[in-house]
């Protein structure tokens, strides 16, 4: 049942020009950044050759590319998730789901998976660019995989937050704006201070990109993975509650 809902959601994305446009724009921007990074790397190559433990192509091209891709995901996800539940409430199609023999959990997970698969597609397309380098350069496979894991976890977190905010309103644009605001807040939450106090450590832990940075360095720590999984699970749980609540409030 989750699969049925996810499949419709995923196919529905491709039936709207929005998803295609987002894919095209993201891909074009990332390709541009990629070319610039390669160019920089070629200019640096001469000087790097003399260094011991010099950073490789993975550190100088792939990691910065993924950092930009994370930003792209931050901008793109709210636009993809905004309609998930708000549009269904606005047009009344939610009644079809609520009157069908499926639970709120199945509805929420189905919608989540549908959009997540799309976002993983974006991540996969991003991965194609560094993979193209394999033909002429030695890539650090471990670091590449860790970076991709990081992007996927970020996408999962963004999608969960977007899904929740989409359940709060019947207006897609409000959902998108709120999602963007919330994600940005989690992005810069560690800017309050980089001190050693408990508060800064706490805010540092909350920050979305901090956990991503470690993964970009090739460090897969359970602490970071757990953070993203908890982040996603929390918002999915809230969405399920919210959907049950909608039935009560009418």
């Amino acid at each position: 049942m989750i699969g049925v809902i996810a499949a419709r959601e995923w196919r529905g994305l491709f039936l709207s020009p929005l998803a295609w446009t987002l894919l095209a724009v993201t891909q074009a921007l990332l390709a541009w950044i990629f070319i610039i990074l390669i160019n920089d790397f070629q200019n640096l190559q001469g000087r790097l050759a003399g260094l011991e433990h010099a950073p490789g192509v993975t550190d100088l091209v792939v990691a910065p590319l993924f950092r930009v891709a994370a930003w792209a995901l931050l901008l793109l996800t709210p636009l993809l998730t905004m309609r998930l539940l708000s549009e269904e409430r606005r047009t009344g199609t939610l009644d079809l789901l609520l009157s069908a023999p499926v639970s709120a959990t199945q509805i929420v997970l189905g919608k989540y998976l549908g959009v997540l698969i799309f976002l993983l597609g974006v991540v996969a397309l991003t991965a194609l660019m560094p993979l193209a380098l394999m033909t002429g350069a030695a890539l650090d496979g471990g670091k590449l995989l860790a970076g991709l894991l990081g992007l996927s976890l970020l996408a999962a977190s963004f999608a969960a937050a977007g899904l929740y905010l989409s359940s709060l309103t019947a207006q897609p644009l409000i959902a998108a704006t709120a999602t963007f605001g919330l994600l940005l807040a989690f992005w810069i939450v560690d800017a309050v201070g980089a001190g050693q106090g408990i508060a800064s450590q706490f805010f540092g832990y909350l920050s979305l990109p901090r956990h991503h940075d470690a993964l970009l360095l090739g460090l897969v720590r359970s602490e970071d993975v757990a953070y993203y999984l908890l982040f996603s699970a929390a918002f999915l749980g809230l969405t399920i509650r919210r959907l049950d609540n909608l039935r009560l409030r009418g």
Binding site: M1, I5, G12, L98, S99, P101
Partner: protein, 318 residues
Amino acid sequence: MLAENVMIGEILVAVERLSRRYGETQAVDTVNFTLERGQVLGFLGLNGAGKSTTMRMLAGVLAPDAGRIVVNGADLLDQPRRAKQAVGYLPEQPPLYRELTVDEQLHYSARLHGLDRAASRQAMARVKERCGLTNVGRRLTGNLSKGYRQRVGIAQALLHDPPVLILDEPTVGLDPVQAREIRALIRALGQERGVILSTHLLPEVQATCSHVQIMRAGRLVFAGALAELQQRRQSTCVRIRLNAPPPVADLARLPTITRVEELGGGQFRLHHVADVALAPIVLDQARAGGWELWELTPEQASLEQIFVELTLEQETVA
């Protein structure tokens, strides 16, 4: 299709003390009723009487504040999936995804109700045939006319062959020919299932329903067979034409008369208490008074009058 041993009279929906508030307004107030297999139950009422709210609760879209709904033997709160599997629901707005074609929409709905691919294909062919959708399978639901959208909505409710159908204003937006087809369809469906439909149109109730429930301000003010409602139409009015009419006051003095309306041209409408045969009294008096009675017609109250009486009567009591 349904099992061979369809039991007419089997209780499909039982509603006990159902209540629902929206903020300060009591939308549905301790409503009790049952629906049996073979019944087509018409929900009547003015706007805001609580018809749609009741139907939304029956479909499991809205949670009741109090009360119990049992559908096909399964409690809607304790076993929501079993109960919902037994219900086909058409909301006021047919729930259609604008960007899907009719076929895609129906297929999705069938899958949501647990039909596998093969069963879904069969079910789609069946309901498209029944609802006159065979030629529009490839069109986007968003581009269909209101009437066709309504038909897709009904087809969608029929896909998983539920024993209970809940249709919120099924013929709204249909042209008269389409409306007649849909009414015939509902009558046919009602023979082997239980159907609940809401409507503003009294002729529709007369044409399709076996039972009627009238709601006012969240309460049931009448529930019974259509025939019972029609019995209430016993005439309490007689129209007469007199060639030499007496003063109105003389007519008003006749026994059992409650009110006299003068219609002009020697015509009068005499309102009298129920269960009295007025004709002999009027005849006697006319002969005695030399009024020259030319016409005497008992007037039947229309369903509409009964409906208005029932919905307004209650207002003065409350």
